[in-house]
């Protein structure tokens, strides 16, 4: 079992994304460092557009995460509705 992770700048725009990740991935661990938020998760981590939208009540384009995305590890599987990091390929 290996971890995947993703990190965002710590600001208002990334807050609902982080909250959505925590809601969708119960095993995820959030680490606050100065200026960034890093989220580690065993095996895989999924970001869902629908969850972010239910956090903010507004439409969200998943590509908006790139504005605040700092780094990530894992193979990416993404479409308009979700982005999944895992080591499966």
């Amino acid at each position: 079992m290996s971890n995947v992770f993703i990190a965002f700048q710590h600001n208002e725009e990334s807050r609902p994304v982080v909250d959505a990740i925590v809601a969708d991935n119960p095993a995820a661990v959030v680490v606050h460092s100065p200026g960034i938020v890093k989220i580690d998760a065993p095996n895989s981590l999924t970001i869902r557009r629908g969850t972010i939208e239910s956090q903010t009540g507004r439409p969200y384009d998943l590509q908006q995460i790139h504005v605040n995305l700092v780094t990530l590890s894992g193979y990416i599987d993404e479409d308009d509705d979700q982005l999944t990091l895992s080591w499966k390929h």
């Binding site: 208002e12 807050r15 100065p34 009540g57």
Partner: protein, 331 residues
């Protein structure tokens, strides 16, 4: 010499202001929405009662028949505060601006059949006065309502309604001469088909209970008007008869209505869930004002869609009843 730079984390002792922490706790940083909303309502040291209403304090929850232990429960699910609201609307304004440019640069207006263009103007231009009425009413909700969670989005809603009125004005100017605005006003003031709606809008100006006004304007009247006009009339009728340009120039309205309906429903649902008395009171208001709004829109529906108008209005009514049922009130 070797300089070793290290990042050292200093955990803040307080994650937010004490008055915000009262509501959300101090476990994690509060969001900007929470900081801009919770605890912002003035509650004490008012000194004098207003001379125009000595029965109440200047900010007074008892202006409404709705009783809530804490008015901050009426949270906005969109979490709009000034910055997020202006950014969201600026994006929508950019989209609308390019729609107007597209329609003008491609010469789409002359391609609309004359009868369709006339009909669209006849129905849409007088509605800018109804949108202005909604602006007045929401400003009134903000002025006399209680609790920033409830009043701040009402003010945003008021300005959004002003935006709707302005888009309708620009639509009139894009589709015809400036005199079309005068004709629209004349219709609003004297054409019998608009008088029931005008009476309904003007009567709502003197509703004193801010929550009743909220139900009357934002749930009942707009809940019927927007699906009827921008759904059934513009999207399903005008657009299919060569009036795509009209649908482009009113694109903001249905999008905004869907978005703001989430806020309206959440406010009604939360207030109704607090007590049976609230639920009964809101249900009474919803029933009375929905009846009223439906009667007021009947001649407008017929003007817009002819015989199919009543079916479209009944459809809008059914959709509104369903919304109310989900929010836990009887319509």
């Amino acid at each position: 010499m070797n300089i070793d730079l290290q990042a050292r984390e200093i955990a803040p002792l307080r994650n937010t202001y004490a008055h915000v922490a009262n509501y959300v706790g101090n476990d994690k940083p509060a969001s900007r929405y929470q900081e801009a909303t919770f605890g912002a309502q003035p509650t004490a040291n008012f000194h004098y009662r207003p001379t125009w209403d000595p029965e109440h304090e200047i900010f007074d929850a008892s202006r409404s028949a709705i009783v809530l232990a804490d008015w901050y429960v009426l949270k906005d699910p969109r979490q709009l505060y000034y910055a997020t609201w202006t950014m969201a609307r600026a994006r929508q304004q950019d989209a609308m601006e390019s729609n107007f440019q597209f329609v003008e640069s491609r010469g789409m207006v002359p391609k609309i059949p004359d009868a369709v263009r006339e009909k669209a103007l006849q129905v849409l231009v007088p509605l800018r006065h109804a949108a202005w009425g909604a602006n007045m009413n929401n400003a009134s909700i903000c002025a006399y309502g209680y609790g920033t969670a409830f009043t701040a989005p009402a003010m945003f809603h008021a300005m959004d309604n002003l935006g709707v009125a302005q888009y309708l004005t620009r639509l009139g100017l894009a589709l015809d001469d400036p005199s079309v605005l005068d004709h629209g006003k004349q219709d609003w003031l004297s054409d019998p088909r608009w008088q029931v709606l005008r009476r309904c809008v003007e009567d709502s100006f003197v509703v004193e209970d801010p929550f009743e006004l909220f139900v009357a304007q934002n749930l009942a009247l707009d809940g019927l008007l927007y699906p009827l006009i921008y759904g059934s009339f513009v999207d399903e009728h005008v657009a299919l008869q060569g009036g795509t340009a009209v649908a482009m120039l009113t694109a903001f309205m249905p999008e905004w209505h869907d978005e703001s309906a989430r806020w309206v429903d959440a406010v009604v649902k939360t207030a109704a869930a607090e007590s049976d008395a609230n639920r009964r009171q809101i249900s009474l208001w919803v029933q009375a004002w929905t009846e009223r709004a439906q009667a007021a829109l009947a001649p407008v529906a017929e003007l817009a869609l002819g015989d199919a108008g009543q079916d479209a209005l009944a459809e809008a009514r059914a959709a509104l009843t369903e919304r109310c049922r989900k929010a836990g009130v009887l319509a």
